[in-house]
């Protein structure tokens, strides 16, 4: 079953749909024309470039090239996590990279090598979209974990100091905030799994069905990706927070002010 192509004139028609929300936003007094325009333009250019690159990647299907693409995705995700979490990249860039790289590589390798078992484990058709999807969700989780953890520490500075004064080690003193941050990071994934299929049809499954796959196959892939997202987000958040503890505090266990990127 072939997926129907969308010809250029009909793509133009599609963009026309944006006029409706743009008009509504103007009516309620929200002047977001510039932001909307830039976002739509960026999305279109970025996806066009990805389309060109993926076409080339799939045609060549070279293990090093596929690996390089995943590396680029990891680096972009790394910097994006730190910027959105309000932490200075120069301090945490390596720790965050190690956390997301290890968890993404582990869960993607587990899924591709042990579960899907394609002829070549480096097959771009499998590893690139799967690693990308896992990474995208992992990124959200890590932003929440880091942001929650360091905000909570700054907000509860006196409570944290009290724990230290009562004999807690750094790890013992940060543990309540650590647990809360990890919980906040993985809660959306847990809630998403619990309501999957009831509230919305998941994106990957929809994509596969539109691409001509059997619904059963699409369901199996969706379950696989959700389990990998849950696993990698949990692992990445815990490793990331743990590694950051060695960077963010001074030798007296006090949070270093200079690591926080103040707006």
């Amino acid at each position: 079953m072939e997926t129907l192509d969308i010809a250029l004139p009909r793509m133009a028609l599609l963009y026309g749909l944006c006029l409706l929300p743009w008009l509504l936003l103007r009516l309620i007094g929200l002047r977001l024309s510039r932001d909307i325009g830039i976002s739509i333009l960026r999305m279109s250019i970025q996806l066009a470039l990805v389309g060109i690159y993926l076409k080339m990647l799939f045609d060549l299907n070279h293990p090093w090239l596929n690996g390089l693409w995943i590396l680029v995705m990891l680096l972009v995700a790394d910097l994006s996590i730190l910027r959105r979490a309000g932490l200075k990249a120069r301090y945490f860039v390596l720790a965050t990279f190690m956390a997301i790289a290890s968890s993404i590589l582990f869960s993607t390798a587990y899924l591709v090598i042990l579960v899907i078992q394609p002829a070549h484990f480096y097959d771009a058709r499998y590893i690139v979209p799967l690693a990308g999807m896992i990474l995208g969700n992992c990124l959200q989780g890590n932003v929440i974990a880091l942001e929650r953890f360091y905000s909570a520490l700054r907000k509860n500075e006196n409570e944290y100091a009290t724990f230290l004064m009562l004999g807690a080690t750094r790890w013992e003193a940060v543990r309540p905030y650590f647990r809360d941050a990890v919980k906040a990071a993985i809660n959306p994934t847990i809630a998403g799994m619990a309501t999957m299929g009831l509230v919305s049809l998941p994106g990957m499954m929809t994509g596969q069905i539109l691409g001509g796959s059997e619904p059963w196959l699409a369901v199996k892939y969706q379950i696989a990706i959700m389990i990998c997202i849950f696993t990698s987000t949990t692992i990445a958040c815990i490793i990331n927070l743990k590694l950051s503890l060695n960077i963010a505090f001074n030798e007296f266990d006090v949070l270093r002010d200079e690591v926080i990127d103040k707006p």
Binding site: E159, A161, T162, F163, M165, L166, G167, E172
Partner: protein
């Protein structure tokens, strides 16, 4: 006799602002001292610097004649009860707050019995049923006494108290203060506005 606490030309800068400039003093075991000054003059900062919560720009802080270093700060913290202006109890109920330090590895083997908890509360003129109350529902004064009780249970030698428990500084010896000072082998230490 050597001082238990000594500040030697200590300056502290926090957020690019000098909060302590060239402070020197010495306190001996058994001495009780009060820091007086206007609001924002740095009374609490002296106490927090002693506990390693502010980085020292210049000078040296000594505790039991040992310079304050990352390795010695644990000794200072384990010997000192710091009772802030509005002490943080760090737990839902008063009982959990009193037992909080005994969850930490260093105190895990010295968890007090129910009888010891009640005895400490009685010494500070607190009713035993306060144990069941939520930490957020008790008054500021009661919070300070719970923080003092925690210091007693931990056998702290030195007390650093912020404003609020002014009776420490003013010499009006209430039972709780007498009780704590009797228990503390060395000098307590308070900060109070004039």
């Amino acid at each position: 006799m050597s001082p238990i606490i000594r500040f030697d030309c200590v300056s502290v800068i926090v957020h690019e602002k000098t909060i302590l400039s060239d402070i020197s003093f010495a306190l001996f075991p058994g001495e009780k001292a009060v820091l007086c000054g206007k609001s924002g003059s740095g009374k609490s900062s002296v106490l927090r610097t002693l506990l390693g919560l502010h980085p020292i720009k210049s000078g040296t802080v000594y505790f039991q004649e040992q310079p304050l270093t990352p390795s010695s700060v644990q000794t200072v913290r384990s010997c000192t009860a710091y009772i802030g202006q509005e002490p943080m109890l760090g737990a839902e109920s008063v009982r959990e707050a009193l037992l909080l330090p005994f969850q930490f590895k260093t105190h895990r083997d010295h968890r007090p019995t129910e009888a010891q908890l009640i005895e400490v509360l009685q010494r500070l003129r607190l009713p035993a049923d306060i144990l069941r109350q939520e930490s957020s529902r008790i008054s500021g004064g009661e919070k300070q006494r719970i923080a003092l009780a925690r210091g007693l249970l931990l056998g702290k030698k030195t007390v650093s108290a912020g404003r609020g428990d002014q009776r420490i500084g003013r010499g009006k010896q209430t039972s709780r203060v007498r009780c704590f000072f009797r228990s503390a082998a060395d000098g307590p230490f308070g900060g109070s506005r004039p």
